[in-house]
Symmetry: C2
Subunit: 333 residues, 2 copies
């Protein structure tokens, strides 16, 4: 086990081929002029030794790593898994490698991820910042690190981002519930992100336009640590309980539906439920979930394309894309 532990280096290859190191390098990289016979000798030697170039050393001299850092909340949420998949598809096609970090909605972890990514000298970063008022995005801006935000933006101006129209998400979900006759609509929102903020604004706006008051007691900010079950049991045991729940995402909606089922509350008759993201399984739930489609895969694809453009071409001002959400009405409302 200890014997072959050392990696073969270009020096070994050069020696076996009987040439200088520089020549070996040129032959291996098809750069500069190398006589055909020399090249063959080098290639054969590399083959025989099972030579695998050390990209650390290479990147050190190039100053580029061909790596892109990606920071999201958690890959366990299929929404992000799909976004990441979109990112990956374009990175792979351009010879880039993806380095993934999950922040789990913890700004400290997010900062750590950024630092580690910088240490690794990734060429750029794609990420979904936890907070709208993000210190971490500020850090990226100040340190001139190429990045594009995905799914969430921040107060910082002139940043590149690809997001959904979250105001609209909140608005159409709420409007739909209002049309269905609901007046007490519980909003299980997420945390400090731009999405949470904007969806909340949309929710408010819809209520206001319809002439209703916004009841702050019907609005909750969930963190990954929030125990939804006791919270919901509490809320639903009040006498004027909500008749509908708008969930920030399908992941939360799934939780909510499990709880409602356990509480023996009929969906949508006793409580209606709306989610967001249109995850794969939602159409087959019992009942099928009313939700909002966001082009997840495309979101990742676009973000990656923008970043690579920044890196490979000249930078021409911020690119900001806002994707249109689409309400999908099913039997849960």
């Amino acid at each position: 086990m200890k014997l072959k532990d050392k990696h073969v280096t270009i020096k070994d290859v050069a020696k076996l081929a009987g040439v200088g190191i520089a020549t070996a390098s040129r032959a291996l990289n098809n750069k500069g002029d190398v006589s055909p016979s020399t090249r063959r000798k080098v290639l054969e030697a590399a083959q025989k030794l099972g030579y695998v170039p050390n990209s650390l050393a290479r990147s050190l001299v190039y100053g580029k790593t061909k790596k892109i850092g990606v920071i999201i909340t958690t890959i366990l949420n299929p929404f992000y898994a799909t976004v990441v998949s979109g990112i990956e598809s374009v990175l792979a096609s351009k010879g880039y490698t993806l380095v993934l970090y999950n922040s789990n909605e913890d700004p400290y972890k997010e900062k750590e991820a950024i630092l580690t990514l910088r240490q690794q000298r990734v060429d750029g970063i794609i990420f979904a910042p936890i907070e709208y008022e993000s210190q971490n995005v500020k850090y990226l801006v100040e340190n001139n690190i190429p990045f594009v935000l995905v799914a969430r933006k921040t107060q910082e101006e002139n940043t590149n981002f690809v997001v959904a129209d979250d105001f609209k998400v909140g608005k159409i979900a709420t409007e739909h519930l209002l049309e269905k006759g609901h007046r007490r609509i519980l909003f299980l929102n997420s945390w400090k992100s731009s999405s949470a903020r904007l969806r909340l604004e949309g929710y408010r706006e819809a209520l206001k336009e319809a002439g209703f008051l916004v009841n702050p007691k019907l609005i909750y900010s969930l963190t990954p640590d929030t125990e939804i079950r006791p919270l919901l049991e509490d809320i639903l045991s009040t006498k004027n309980r909500p008749t509908a729940i708008f969930c920030f995402c399908d992941s939360i909606a799934l939780e909510v539906m499990k709880i409602l089922k356990a509480m023996n509350l009929k969906i949508p008759d006793e409580v209606a439920v709306v989610g967001c993201d249109n995850l794969d399984y939602t159409e087959l739930l019992n009942p099928p979930l009313t939700t909002i489609e966001i082009s997840k895969f495309e979101m990742g694809v676009t973000a990656a394309k923008i970043l690579l453009e920044m890196l490979e071409a000249e930078n021409k001002g911020p690119i900001q894309q806002i994707l249109e959400p689409k309400l999908i009405i099913r039997a849960s409302t």
Copy 2:
């Protein structure tokens, strides 16, 4: 944009602090003896300059990268997302970073991933090999690369792995369907992996023990490219059509349920469905899916622990863990 492009180096820090490079290095890493006042000066300089050490350079001299490569089929399958999450949880706690590749069941891509991972000099690899007769695992063995297999093993002996008891998975799923009175059980199996092989053996064994013949026309190997819909429509339009479908995983079962719904076939009355993996949403499907629980997160955790042990302690023979699957009976059967 062009100005701050260059990273601050230890040289810059040393100069600002008015010390030599070696001293700066020692101060920054808390190594060797450095006078308190010197250390302070260096730390202040680093702080002021926003110094972030270059881990490429560092790894070059250490010969270790503190990175672990992970190769799975696709992060889009929540089964693997959960396994990866388990892996990540232990890596993070030990200061390791995870580099993720999706093979998409393409052995060529798998090989490429391994090569790229080697170029990056990851300290070890955790992966779910596509094929039972894997050339790629052979390559790892021959090149003495520390690795542990997860979810799938190979013909290679003496490898470290953490898998489910897939024979049993196939057996208990089939036995359950037989008990429910099904005789024509369609098996939508996956491809060339050990899991596929062993689940098939389990399926066969269950039929044999119950005294039934195995009908090869009821066994299909799906690749990621297989269009399940036409296939299923075809199979279900035969006169002696199967009355039950055993799906390799919940992901496939979800597809199948969608198709059955579209075909207006009642589950379980007209066709029963069994999945495997016990994904989060399966209990809430319509109908709730009978499936098999496999400790996904634990699988990842264990694999990561084994690998780190190999790397940090002496290597003591192969560690092979087989996790117990558990049938979860719900309304789809």
